[in-house]
């Protein structure tokens, strides 16, 4: 699996490439500025890109802008954004095209390399991965919503994990319940929130995120 790594700090870039190489990713390019990232994305057409939000030359959200520009030219190009902060505003912009294959994680999540590599693979596979912090904020925003208050605590947990981009199997494993039970919960959640049920994991995640983001 070919990956482009974009990170301006040498230490982190080096660490990321090593980590990904150790998990049998092929490093197509490791770049340190937003223009180089855009060029690399368009030339290399990697299976996935791991991108730092803040990068030269502007040291603002240049990485995000480059990723969004690349996705405008290559719809659905898988991009996993890393940042010291997660902002709903940026999450919303990433999710706006409804094409999936996006991720948005705190840099801290790299500490758990298994989960991180899973997230990279999910995004590469067209899935959506949101940092738990984003999801917490989304739910916090919706905490006064009538439909959300009707969810049971267990359903809320499932919703949270689903919003993070986990598959039914992963949710089941996390909550120590069967996949079938997760399926039941999701159906119930979708009914209570008034969403159209879907068998496709990814469609479902996007629907949930779209609901929370609205």
């Amino acid at each position: 699996m070919r990956v482009v790594v974009a990170e301006d700090l040498f230490l982190l870039r080096d660490g990321l490439t090593r980590l990904l190489a150790a998990h049998e990713f092929e490093i197509a390019a490791a770049v340190d500025t937003a223009p180089r990232l855009l060029a690399a994305l368009l030339e290399q057409r990697p299976d996935v890109a791991v991108v730092d939000v803040r990068m030269p030359p502007g040291f603002a959200d240049d990485g995000l802008q480059a990723a969004l520009a690349a996705r405008r030219q290559v719809p659905g190009l898988p991009v996993l954004l890393l940042s010291q902060y997660v902002e709903q505003l940026y999450a919303r912009e990433m999710l706006a095209d409804q094409a999936g294959a996006v991720g948005y994680l705190l840099k801290d999540r790299v500490f758990n390399d298994d989960q991180f590599v899973d997230a990279v693979r999910t995004v590469a596979g067209g899935g959506t991965v949101m940092d738990p912090e984003v999801v917490t904020k989304l739910l916090g925003r919706r905490s006064h919503d009538e439909p959300i208050t009707r969810l049971s605590p267990r359903e809320l947990e499932v919703l949270e994990l689903m919003a993070e981009g986990r598959s039914n199997a992963a949710v089941a494993q996390r909550l120590f319940i069967t996949e079938k039970a997760v399926g039941k919960h999701t159906t119930s959640i979708f009914t209570k929130l008034g969403l159209t049920p879907s068998e496709d994991d990814n469609r479902r995640v996007l629907a949930v995120l779209a609901y929370l983001n609205a």
Partner: protein, 626 residues
């Protein structure tokens, strides 16, 4: 007996009434009166009593605090005086011991009071103005100075001395004994030898025990009152320091007046001038400042006069009273103290002249700073009140800005110290423990490693929150509009945004406005019970409103930098007041740093509308690098 009893009762009643009226401070007066009893009626003893009286009346608390100190001083002084009084128990010891050390005067020599032995002449003008007179049985001492000797006017009369005036004309007059002697100085006669005359009842019996009692009482009481005295003086010292800073040149008048004491000698009029100087410094600091160069110029002229005169006079031109010419000028001319220099020779006179030059130069240097500045300010019209108001506002807002920056730095320091730093320390300790445990118990070590990882996560989280409070990332990335948008997304209330901001503001303004909106929003969420909030941000090229302070913003007439207007409105219960609670007041202060203003309309029952205006420029829209 009956009369005594009535008198004592009367005295006691009066005393009790005085004590009730003025408190313990009134004790200061009798203590000061002791100086009169010890030293007699002098200007300074009277002044001491008067000072004590005024303190007791107008500053009773201070007077009460000073009583123990006065006791200590009075006791110590009493002991010293007693030691010098012949016949008193203390003085007997002192004089007998000094008797043993002093050489007995040989025939033909006389001992002057300070223990020096001089050769007696018909009239001797010794070095340092010591005079010995050839009067058998008498040893005389006179204060320093050069004196002319006037023979005794009759048998048994003491000889008389008078000060030699400075110039030859006066000397001649003196030698003719014309007119009353000017500047006649008192000659002190002291008898030597064991003194047998008994001391008086007061000095001999009462003084020493009274002094000891006072000393003991004072020392016992002093620590109690010292505390309050120090507390009071701290405030006084601060006021004094401010006064000094504001009137630094005027304050110079007091030391300059003290120099005058040395130049013109300690006389009633010079002392009076020093007192007057102190009063002028306190009451009219500007006048005091103007007087400093004038006084310095007068001293300088006087110094030049001394220098010139001593060069012009020759000692040999004068014939001493005994016949031969005077050996040196000091015998003819009165030695004069001039500042730090005692002028008793031509060389010293030149030195005095140099000192006078220093005075004059200092005076000249001060002229533009005192008289010049004051004259200028008299001719320059009063400053524009609007400008003065602006300056006052700027000074105030600068103070607020500094305060805010300081407390912000303190908060950051504390957060780092208690958060990330502490966690990193824990992390280090954990890792060290892992190092130790790894060989023996790898399983426990593994647990510690994951704990360390958790700690590092928490440290990162702390840092993240800290940075968010300093300068939110979206604000840094995209500016005020997007940052407010992100803020709205993080808020649980529905928020309508109406943002028209085609460019970036300067970083400080952006940050101040962001935190202002955040504060207003937080108020709306926490206190107002609102269901929706409307935020409007607009930048217009020309200011919309004039400042409420009356003055328009600098350049705010349409060609200025423009005006940022922010409105945060909610449909809550209202009742927001910047005067209550520090949040909005802090926002107002922070915006004030940029000449911005904050207006709150929040009647009870709502709705609330917070409007902010900051004059600021909008930079061209930031072009994306990609």
């Amino acid at each position: 007996m009956g009369v005594m009893w009535i008198l004592m009762k009367l005295a006691w009643k009066t005393l009790a009434r005085v004590m009730r009226r003025f408190g313990w401070g009134s004790l200061l007066v009798p203590l000061a009166a002791m100086s009169m009893a010890l030293f007699g009626l002098h200007l300074w003893t009277i002044a001491t009593v008067a000072f004590a009286l005024s303190l007791a009346v107008w500053r009773p608390v201070v007077a009460a605090a000073l009583v123990p100190l006065a006791m200590v001083v009075a006791g110590a002084t009493g002991l010293v005086v007693a030691s010098g009084v012949p016949g008193s128990p203390v003085s007997w010891i002192v004089s007998s011991s000094s008797q043993a050390v002093k050489p007995t005067p040989a025939p033909g020599f006389w001992t002057v009071d300070n223990g020096q032995t001089v050769m007696p002449l018909q009239m001797s003008v010794g070095p340092g103005g010591m005079v010995a007179a050839n009067v058998p049985g008498q040893v005389v001492a006179v204060p320093p100075g050069t004196f002319a000797y006037l023979p005794p006017q009759g048998h048994g009369q003491p000889p008389r001395f008078r000060s030699l005036p400075i110039n030859a004309r006066k000397l001649a007059i003196d030698r003719q004994r014309v007119g009353p002697p000017r500047g006649f100085r008192k000659v002190v006669y002291t008898r030597r030898g064991p003194v047998m005359s008994p001391a008086g009842w007061w000095h001999g019996r009462l003084l020493v025990p009274l002094a000891l009692i006072l000393l003991t009482l004072g020392l016992w009481l002093a620590p109690r009152t010292m505390v309050s005295l120090v507390e009071r003086s701290a405030e006084l010292v601060q006021r004094l320091r401010n006064h000094m800073r504001e009137n630094r040149w005027g304050v110079l008048l007091v030391p300059v007046a003290l120099i005058g004491l040395t130049v013109f000698g300690v006389r009633p009029w010079t002392v009076g001038l020093v007192v007057a100087a102190v009063i002028v410094v306190i009451k009219w600091p500007r006048v005091a400042a103007d007087l400093v160069p004038v006084a310095l110029a007068i001293f300088a002229l006087y110094g030049f006069d001394i220098a010139a005169r001593w060069q012009a006079v020759s000692a040999a031109a004068f014939v001493g009273p005994g016949g031969p010419p005077f050996a040196n000028l000091a015998q003819v001319m009165n030695p004069v103290q001039y500042g730090a220099v005692l002028v008793d020779s031509r060389q010293m006179a030149l030195l005095a002249g140099a000192e006078a030059s220093v005075f004059l130069a200092l005076g000249a240097w001060l002229v533009p700073r005192t008289i010049g500045a004051h004259t200028r300010s008299m001719f320059v019209a009063d400053p524009d009140p609007a400008l003065a108001g602006q300056v006052a506002r700027l000074t105030e807002s600068r103070g607020h800005a500094i305060d805010a920056a300081t407390s912000e730095l303190r908060r950051i320091e504390r957060d780092l110290h208690d958060g990330a730093q502490a966690r990193l320390v824990a992390l280090g300790m954990n890792l060290r423990a892992v190092e130790r445990m790894l060989p023996a118990s790898p399983h426990a070590a593994m647990a510690l490693v994951s704990e360390a990882r958790e700690t590092s996560l928490r440290a990162l989280n702390d840092l993240r929150n800290l940075v968010r409070g300093i300068y939110p990332p979206v604000l840094a990335d995209r500016g005020l509009g997007h940052a407010v948008e992100a803020l709205a997304l993080d808020t649980s209330l529905p928020i309508e945004l109406d943002i028209n901001l085609p460019g970036r503001l300067t970083v400080p303004v952006e940050s101040a406005c962001y935190f202002a909106v955040a504060e207003a929003l937080a108020n709306a969420v926490k206190h107002s019970g609102a269901h929706r909030v409307h935020i409007r941000i607009q930048h217009s090229a020309s200011p919309v409103l004039a400042s409420p302070h009356g003055a328009s913003f600098p350049g705010g007439t349409g060609h200025g930098p423009g005006m940022l207007r922010i409105e945060v409105a909610d449909d809550g219960i209202g009742g927001a007041d910047p005067a209550r609670g520090t949040g909005l007041a802090g926002v107002e202060r922070r915006l004030g740093t940029f000449d911005g203003i904050l207006a709150v309309s929040s009647p009870p029952g709502g709705p609330t509308m917070i409007a902010m205006e900051v004059p600021c420029a909008l930079s061209s829209p930031k072009t994306c690098s990609c």
